[in-house]
């Protein structure tokens, strides 16, 4: 039973890493392959300009959609993997140090008597930044 558990956890870890690489590869492929294909297709068009322009527009919008899909997939898999890994590490160490919480309730057992307090504004800084509009909008 112990061996089965060990093997299954190793298998799951390998699968997770494989999926992560799949996501990264997908992202890399979308970044490199699609624009090259699109350029090649445009250069072959010679006859009916109106139809071709329309075709190019349809193709470009489709390839842009594919590119965005691949990017989202890679982002989803990458972020999911990193967050899941962090959560698992936190859980593991919380078991190793179970109960390591604040040993002294200072808010109940310590009393502060303020004699003097001052808050002086020393500087105000305003940063202005132009909002970049998303190309898809």
């Amino acid at each position: 039973m112990r061996n089965i558990l060990k093997k299954s956890s190793v298998l799951i870890a390998v699968l997770m890493v494989a999926m992560l690489f799949a996501g990264i590869s997908c992202f890399a492929y979308e970044q490199e392959a699609i624009p090259t294909e699109a350029e090649a297709s445009v250069s072959e068009i010679t006859d009916n300009e109106a139809v071709e322009t329309q075709e190019i527009q349809i193709y470009e919008s489709k390839s842009s959609e594919d590119k965005s899909l691949g990017k989202n997939l890679a982002m989803g898999i990458g972020s999911g993997f990193v967050i899941a890994l962090i959560v698992c590490i936190c859980i593991y160490f919380s078991y190793k140090k179970h109960g390591a919480t604040e040993p002294y309730k200072y808010d109940e057992n310590a009393k502060l008597t303020l004699i003097d307090s001052s808050d002086v504004l020393v500087n105000t800084h305003i940063e202005k930044r132009k909002i970049e509009k998303d190309n898809n909008d």
Binding site: G23, K105, N109
Partner: protein, 356 residues
């Protein structure tokens, strides 16, 4: 050195402190006695032991001649010889299992000022442990069973309790942020404040381990205790439990106490600056105005468990039931959970990115 076995006033059987009843019970005739009744009966004995205080050091020096760090005592019940550590103050006879209090160890300046008696029994401690285990999803399935628990014992651990009045001041830099949009522009305003605070902080019953040999992390994190339950020390509370005496003086832990209280002072001053989005403490100066140190014994249920051939110690606060220790984590369950979380998170992030 003196040893005491508290015996039933009615039948002479061994008396133990019963946390469930908060009385002293005899297992043989089922009699229960209050602390006052016991004090009236054994009071003279306690006083005699206090008078012996000056003799203790000399006797202990002789006892330590064994050379292996252990000390030999005679069981007052059966006469058998008991070997203990140098800091053990209460134990049980390995032959007749009678509770034995090594009263000479807690006499004179080694006598604790205060004690928190055990609040629940060994059975309750086990139930609390199992209840805690039920909430832990990633414990191995076969872990929660009596078979893994090797030993469970109630131990009184020594602590210094410090009442400290501090006076001081601190300087900090606080920042407030505000963001707004106007037309095609986004504005971010940062206001920087110079903050200063001056005041007195009264720390009440700050605990510090008074035993150098024990696991400091365990003794630290089994806290906090409810100080309302502190009562004047009586030797009889130790009957039926193991107890350790302190092996540190105030000077040995003063530096550590000052360091920890300074950290708490920072937190307390910072709490008065909650109106700021970010605070950086520039400097803090604290002086001790007055300090009062008390020596107290706190109850801990100590559990030893063996899992996968590894022996671990787990501590349960004998008053509040707070648990501290290392728990085994099932890597199989964790991997399954991680995989599930990975799939769900990936789907959510992908879905959000696709839709927005």
């Amino acid at each position: 050195m003196s040893t005491v076995a508290y015996k039933c006033i009615n039948c002479g059987g061994p008396l133990e402190f019963n946390p469930a009843k908060q009385m002293f019970s005899c297992e043989y005739c089922r009699s229960d006695f209050t602390e006052k009744e016991l004090k009236d009966h054994f009071g003279e004995l306690d006083e005699e032991l206090n008078d012996e205080a000056n003799k203790v050091d000399e006797t202990q020096a002789e006892d330590n001649e064994f050379g292996f760090g252990g000390v030999l005592f005679s069981c007052p019940n059966c006469g058998a010889e008991i070997v203990t550590d140098e800091t053990t103050a209460a134990t049980e006879c390995v032959y007749c299992h009678s509770p034995v209090v090594l009263s000479g160890r807690l006499a004179g300046n080694m006598k604790p000022n205060l004690v928190i008696p055990f609040g629940f029994t060994e059975k309750d401690a086990k139930e609390k442990f199992y209840a805690m285990c039920k909430k832990k999803w990633f414990l191995p399935r076969d872990f929660v069973s009596d078979a893994h628990i090797d030993k469970m014992k109630g131990v009184y651990y020594p602590y210094w309790l410090v009442d400290s009045d501090k006076a001081g001041s601190c300087n900090a830099t606080g920042k407030k942020y505000r963001t707004w949009r106007s037309g095609d522009y986004e504005y971010k305003e940062t206001k920087t404040y110079s903050i200063s605070r001056m005041g007195n902080i009264a720390f009440h019953k700050f605990p510090q381990s008074a035993l150098s040999k024990e696991d400091h992390q365990m003794m630290k994190f089994v806290n906090p205790y409810d100080n309302e339950a502190l009562t004047d020390f009586s030797m009889s509370y130790l009957s039926g439990f193991q107890a350790e005496k302190r092996d540190t003086e105030r000077a040995d832990v003063q530096e550590q106490v000052d360091k920890e209280l300074l950290e708490y002072s920072k937190k307390i001053f910072k709490d008065t600056m909650s109106q700021y989005d970010s605070v950086t403490l520039d400097n803090i100066h604290m002086n001790t105005v007055q300090e009062d140190w008390k020596y107290a014994l706190f109850p801990v249920w100590l559990m030893t468990y063996t899992y996968k051939d590894k022996q671990k110690i787990f501590a349960i606060n004998g008053q509040t039931g707070k648990t501290y220790g290392e728990l085994p984590c099932s890597l199989g369950k964790l991997a399954l959970f991680g995989a599930g979380l990975f799939v769900v998170l990936s789907a959510i992030i992908f879905g959000l990115g696709y839709c927005l």
